[in-house]
């Protein structure tokens, strides 16, 4: 059963990890789309900035002599989430709101977000250089190896501490978001405005407040996603551009404006990615004897070579758009 354990390591765990990251980003993208009606291109860079802020706070904490049982980057993350939320509101005040007030078409807001994306990219690389940095500068990354003797497997299940934290955080964040959206006044106002902005305004909902909430949630989750991704691998200043496409794909696949759709879309894209680059012939190996002699299982049965991974989210996107133009959760009609 080594093969099964390999499958769990390479697909179930890796898929959950990358799916969680995409979901955390896609919730922000879909909320901003639902409330403000534009594709926020700078979201990937918001994740990078959030991760960078976490790193700075973590270094400061570590220099102050703080030591924690959890990774120090994870402890620093809430502070970075608050800072990133503030940054998001600041960007909205200084760039998006004036455009909104001038009554421009949504497409101009998209252009503006491209501009902000470039500005953030430039600043991050200016300040952080282009090298990669590990969050584990003062401690070791805990790696759990779980042996599964009852499955007669010699290979052990491998999961790292950041991965456990990431999956746990995503679950907590999703549940919290659910209660926020269904139980609180702000959450209900947010859903109302996402469904029909004009109607929401007539019923006396403070739309500016809803916009603030959107940026706080979007920015906070973006910072968390970026930090957790960097904890799992390393902090890279050019993390953003590779991640924004799957995140958009996740948001659109789930149905734009639908937070639950974004979560589902995130995991769908994450798992499809890992399944597509997974080498299926490993799973077929135990059954080698069963195949007729003329049918030899090729050594590599992956659907997509790893270097083409970036193409997968896009194919999911197109497939879903053709099949179901409003996404899985019946998002906004565009």
């Amino acid at each position: 059963m080594n093969e099964l354990v390999f499958f769990i390591n390479k697909v179930v765990i890796a898929g959950s990890v990358i799916g969680s990251i995409y979901a955390l980003g896609a919730i922000g993208v879909t909320l901003i789309f639902g409330i403000l009606r534009f594709a926020h291109f700078a979201h990937g860079d918001m994740m990078t900035v959030g991760a960078g802020l976490s790193l700075v706070v973590a270094v400061l904490l570590s220099e102050a002599g703080v030591s924690t049982p959890l990774p120090i980057g994870f402890v620093a993350m809430p502070i970075a989430m608050v800072l990133t939320a503030l940054l998001a509101i600041g960007l909205d005040r200084s760039f998006y709101k004036p455009l909104r007030d001038a009554g421009v078409r949504p497409v101009v807001l998209v252009m503006a977000s491209v501009g902000i994306m470039l500005m953030m990219q430039g600043l991050v690389r200016l300040l952080a250089g282009s090298s990669t940095r590990s969050f584990f500068f003062a401690e070791r990354k805990d790696i759990f190896r779980i042996d599964l003797p009852f499955l007669e497997a010699r290979r052990s299940l491998v999961i790292t501490e950041p991965q456990v934290l990431l999956i746990a955080f995503t679950v907590v964040a999703v549940v919290a978001l659910h209660f926020f959206l269904t139980r609180t006044r702000h959450g209900k106002a947010m859903r109302a405005m996402s469904d029909n902005a004009d109607l929401a305004r007539i019923t006396g909902i403070n739309t500016e407040q809803v916009v603030w909430m959107t940026w706080i949630i979007g920015g906070g989750l973006a910072a968390a996603g970026g930090t957790l991704l960097s904890l799992d691998v390393t902090f890279k200043p050019d993390l953003s551009f590779n991640i924004i496409l799957p995140i958009f794909a996740a948001a659109i696949v789930g149905g734009i404006g639908r937070p639950y759709g974004a979560i589902a879309g995130g995991f769908l894209v994450g798992f499809t990615e890992t399944l597509a680059i997974f080498n299926w012939s490993i799973l077929l190996r135990p059954f080698d004897a069963l195949f007729p002699a003329w049918l030899e299982v090729p050594a590599n049965l992956a659907f997509v070579p790893t270097e083409y991974k970036i193409t997968i989210p896009f194919f999911i996107l197109v497939a879903v758009l053709v099949w179901r133009p409003t996404g899985l959760f019946k998002g906004r009609v565009l």
Partner: protein, 398 residues
Amino acid sequence: MMGPAYTLRMVVEATCYAILALGLTIQWGYAGLFNAGIMGFVALGGAMTMLMSFPVNQDFWNSSAPAGLGRVLLIALAGAALVFAASRLHRLGVSRGLRTAVTVIVLAIAYLVFMNALTPVAAEIESTAGFVGGLGLPVGIGWIAGGAVAGLVGYFIGRICLGLRSDYLAIATLGIAEIIKALLKNADWLTRGTLTVSPLPWPVPAPAEIGFVGSRATYLAVTAVLIVAIYILLQRAYHAPWGRMMRAIRDNETAAGSMGKDVNRRRLEIFVLGCILMGIGGAALITFVRIFDPSGFVPLNHTFLVWVMVILGGAGNNLGAIFGALLIYIVWTMSEPATLFAFHLMEQYGRDWFGWQPPADLDSRALQMRVFIIGLTITLVLRYAPRGLMPEPVKHVD
């Protein structure tokens, strides 16, 4: 440093960008289409001109690889025919759910067969001949092929995405540009991948024959003639009923549709036209730099810079696009030495006054200031001069 050869190089590259900007300004300015994948069309144009005009690789043609490639092509055609047939199964009374399932399964199997047929041929080409090489045709044919292939790809993108809102189109084109780049970068048998192909032949006598200034000036003449021709054609189209119809669709889609204009078809038309121009502009640019490097295509240089040119110049105004392209490209090129100078000055004073120890990669970091400035330009122009420096003239009929 600022000799005539350098200046000419800058101006030639700027004119190539002007062709890209003209392609974008008709998509965005005439029809309001948000194409965020200019890089993909530039890359396609460059790849086609490389494949058409690069000298013939005898090693490849003498090997058994061309026959192998022919077989792969036949497999691809057969697979496409099978998938198409499967997608038509409902005509035979098969239920739609079953048809979709069959189509997906046939597609997956055909794809795996195709990939398994291609892999050994690709490996053979890479080991015996390096890569397929070019066809040794005149450069002009390469440019036309670049435009044609870019237009063809644009057609398929348009068929899928143009019915959707512009944000979707932006995301879709962004993704397609990345896919094109990934394909070109990793298909070593076709493009030599990261090893790059150079020197590409020129449409005019090369610098080795008549010197840098002479050859670059001749090249400039070619691109200038190209721009003037495109400009005249576009102006005529703009003032013709066709251009009026396009603007009507852009300004009020519903009204234009109710007047009997086929909105999606017209959009597709202009999207393809813009993509053709981008393919030609990309081909001209890649030929000029003489090296085909798939990794060298980056969204910043080949998509966003062009966007800044069009927004700053004034969307919907062809002259504005050309002016914006020349201005922005010159500012962009000159900002490299300027930023480096500023940072070295800062480094020097920082060291003298505060004992600041600059990071070792200061130069590469300093260049990121240009990215920041491009971003800032986009946002500021959108806010304070949303119609650009040379806005589209609006005619009022009393």
